[in-house]
């Protein structure tokens, strides 16, 4: 039974990050996109926590908690925008949200 090294953490985090990026890029449902962003953030958190353990201080963990709070706030704001949008267009398909052009 080999020891779990820093490399393992980084690989898992990288995998999570890639999954999140792919989710953001491919999924059409905004809710899923938001969830994918959570995956990305949590991949970062995992990295921060892992490096915190290596360096033996709490800076990384502290930063991770900030990010968790930030993610919660971001989800609240994102879902709020989403509900307001749904009221107007009765859709949450990200392909149809294309007003941000000239």
């Amino acid at each position: 039974m080999a020891e779990i090294t820093t490399l393992h953490y980084l690989v898992v985090a990288a995998a999570l990050f890639v999954l999140g990026v792919i989710g953001v890029l491919t999924r059409r449902n905004v809710v899923i996109v938001l969830m994918s962003i959570e995956l990305i953030l949590n991949a970062v958190n995992l990295n921060l926590v892992a490096f915190s353990r290596i360096w033996g201080n709490l800076h990384g963990q502290l930063f991770a908690i900030f990010i968790v709070v930030d993610a919660a706030a971001e989800a609240a704001a994102g879902l709020g925008i989403l509900i307001a949008f749904f009221r107007n267009k009765e859709t949450i398909n990200v392909d149809e949200i294309d007003l941000l052009k000239w």
Binding site: V21, V24, L25, T26, V33, V94, D95, I97, D98, L99, L100, K101, W102
Partner: protein, 710 residues
């Protein structure tokens, strides 16, 4: 003093008659029309006689000694209390105040008497003459209206009321000349009379208002008193201008050169109208007005000379035309113009009383001659051409006898009215001022010769010789009814008797007529003596020396009358169907010129009326009007339009420049450029967030790989 105080009733009586005819005339019987219309004129005559008699009583009292009687009924225009003012020429204020006022003095008395008297006789005559005509009530309505306006004219106490009458008689003249309105010539003649009179009226109103503006009052009494006050120099330019303008008015109304052309044409009206309006009364209105303004005229020697010269020229000019006319009424019309010229000659040489005396006598014998000619025309079934008359002496004896008296009177045979008045004028012309005035006397003398000739011609062609009318007409010849012959007889008696009112001192007379008029004219004598000694009141002069010359001249003019009549007798007394005009035989070109009235009407056509054209170009004043109209439309307006066109072209150009160059290139150009550039640029902004994220990821991967491999 009832009649004097109610003098305003005199004009109102005929006005009442005219009003009745206007409102009810159509439904009235002829007898009723006669009763109303002739009745009011008879009443006016009687009223006038009583008023004049009372005036002589009134004027004989010491407190009113020889003053004019004024009756101001009410203030017609302006205010009596000085609230309404106008600025005089010298800058001071004068009250604007026109009375509905009446003035009776010797001058208006004379006019009042003969206007109502002759008018009355002519009204009576008309009941016979017009008996078979249509529009009977209309005729008498107009006649009464004429009496009303003429009486207003002569009884006015100021220039404005006089002007009302002045215009009124012009209107009535127009209505009565055009009485046979279905005849084109009659309505044309009526228009001609009215339009020519308008020219004179413009002069009159300008002259009267100039006087008012200069002297500050409308009343004759005020104006005369001011003019005689000595404040104004003789030859005062404003007064001269005013007098000349007034004389223009007199020229129009009294048919003087150059405005006489309407009077001969006015003979288109019924003959009583010619007698009343265009011979005896209305045409003397100009003489009346000048005599009324005598105080102004004596201050304007230039105007006086003009009056005298125009009068003399008119006298000889009209007489020369009268020599050869064939229409019996036309001869009389030119005779009237000629006699009016005599009157103005008298006024112009300062012999106002002599002029008025001639008006007075002329009223009788000219009315007589016209009414007589009416009687002839009546007998001839409407024929007016003397070439088709002849030998009427025995067939219509009363008409013949009376007209013969009229002829003797106008020719100036001693003992009849015309002799005294005409001779007085000739003597005054000779005696006044310088040698130059002897020419005026000679013109007058020559005119007297021609007068005798054409009057003789009229009588001999009409009543003597052989009958030249058709058998049918000859068969119908008959003497006129009593209603026509009685006025003729009365007028014939007046034509003999009227002259004895003014027998001059040289013929053992007392010249009562002139004495009667003295208060009107004599007051300027002291002024006159200073500058123009020769124009003195004639009475004094004659007392001083009854010039042997006067008898000589008198003899000459009597001789002229006899020679003229004798020449006429020789030429026409035995005229058969193929008689020759002596003038035509002696000098055919002269005859043509005279027969065509010196081509004056044609000349006026060329000069004023615009009837003549050369090609498309109108001649004379109207032509000048058309030319300036063309000049205005084509040149002035054309230039304006061209300037406008240039402006518009420039505006179009700058609009184009602004639209396409400034706006198009300068303003829109950069915008279009920016838009062109924006097309490729904005392809990058297609709006799908996930694509942006993909690009970003690709970029990151790219940077990552770049750093890894580097």
């Amino acid at each position: 003093m009832f009649f004097l105080d109610h003098i305003w009733l005199i004009p109102l009586l005929p006005a009442f008659g005219a009003a009745v005819m206007f409102f009810f005339g159509r439904r009235l019987q002829k007898a009723t029309v006669n009763a109303v219309c002739v009745g009011v004129v008879v009443l006016a005559f009687l009223f006038g006689c009583c008023a004049v008699w009372q005036y002589t009583q009134w004027a004989a009292t010491p407190e009113h000694f020889h003053q004019p009687f004024q009756k101001i009924v009410y203030t017609w225009l302006g205010s009596g209390d000085g609230h309404l003012n106008f600025v005089k020429r010298d800058g001071s204020l004068a009250s604007f105040n026109v009375d509905a006022g009446f003035l009776l003095d010797p001058l208006s008395s004379i006019w009042l008497l003969f206007v109502t008297g002759v008018g009355m006789l002519i009204h009576i005559y008309s009941t016979g003459y017009m008996a078979h005509e249509g529009g009977y009530y209309r005729f008498f309505g107009y006649m009464n209206l004429f009496m009303f306006t003429m009486l207003t004219l002569i009884l006015a106490n100021n220039y404005m009321v006089l002007f009302v009458g002045w215009e009124g008689v012009g209107l009535c003249s127009y209505l009565l000349i055009g009485f046979y309105f279905h005849r084109n010539s009659a309505s044309t003649a009526a228009n001609k009379a009215f339009i020519v009179n308008r020219i004179g009226d413009a002069g009159f109103i300008l002259g009267a208002l100039t006087l008012v503006w200069y002297l500050g009052s409308f009343r004759f009494t005020d104006i005369n008193a001011l003019a005689r006050s000595g404040h104004f120099a003789i030859g005062d330019p404003v007064l001269t201008a005013a007098a000349l303008l007034l004389f223009v008015g007199a020229c129009g109304k009294s048919a003087q050169i150059p405005l006489y052309v309407w009077l001969p044409d006015a003979m288109e009206g019924p003959t009583p109208v010619s007698a009343l309006i265009h011979a005896a009364t209305m045409v003397t209105a100009g003489v009346y007005m000048v005599a009324r303004s005598n105080a102004v005229f004596v201050l304007a020697p230039t105007a006086m000379k003009t009056v005298a010269i125009i009068g003399a020229l008119t006298a000889v000019f009209a007489a020369s035309i009268g020599l050869v006319q064939n229409d019996i009424k036309r001869v009389l019309a030119y005779s009237t113009v000629s006699q009016l010229g005599y009157m103005f000659l008298a006024l112009g040489v300062g012999a106002f009383a002599a002029g008025v005396f001639h008006v007075f006598t002329h009223a009788f014998f000219k009315a007589l001659l016209f009414l007589g000619s009416g009687s002839v025309i009546h007998a001839m079934s409407g024929e007016q051409d003397m070439r088709n008359m002849g030998d009427l002496r025995k067939r219509i004896p009363i008409t013949f006898a009376t007209m013969f008296i009229g002829m003797l009177a106008i020719a100036g045979i001693p003992g009849l009215a015309g002799f005294f008045s005409k001779d007085e004028i000739l003597w005054q012309a000779w005696a006044s001022e310088a040698f130059a005035y002897h020419i005026l006397w000679f013109i007058g003398f020559f005119t007297a010769l021609m007068t005798a000739f054409y009057m003789g011609r009229l009588i001999y062609l009409t009543f003597y010789g052989q009958p030249r009318m058709s058998h049918e007409v000859e068969h119908h010849v008959h003497e006129s009814p009593k209603s026509m012959t009685v006025p003729l007889v009365i007028l014939a008696i007046c034509s003999i008797g009227a002259g004895y009112l003014g027998v001059p001192h040289s013929l053992m007379g007392s010249n009562r007529f002139e004495k009667f008029l003295e208060p009107v004219f004599a007051k300027e004598a002291p002024l006159m003596r200073a500058e123009e000694p020769a124009q003195l009141a004639a009475g004094k002069k004659e007392e001083e020396h009854t010039d042997p010359m006067e008898y000589g001249l008198m003899g000459l003019s009597v001789l002229a009358a006899i020679v003229g009549l004798g020449m006429a007798y020789r030429s026409y007394a035995k005229a058969g169907k193929d008689y020759v005009e002596p003038i035509a035989a002696a000098a055919p070109p002269l005859y043509t010129v005279l027969y065509n009235k010196w081509f004056v009407d044609e000349g006026y056509d060329y000069l004023f009326t615009g009837r003549r054209k050369i090609g498309d170009i109108r001649l004379g004043v109207m032509g000048a009007g058309e030319a300036s109209s063309w000049f205005d439309a084509k040149i002035i307006d054309g230039a304006v339009n061209d300037v406008g066109w240039v402006t518009r072209a420039v505006a179009t150009l700058s609009t184009w420049w602004d639209k396409w160059i400034i706006d198009g290139v300068g303003v829109n150009g950069p915008a279009i450029l920016a838009r062109m550039i924006s097309y490729p640029t904005r392809l990058f902004e297609w709006g799908l967030v996930q694509w942006y994220a993909l690009v970003m990821v690709a970029g990151l991967l790219g940077f990552g790989l770049y750093y890894v491999w580097k």
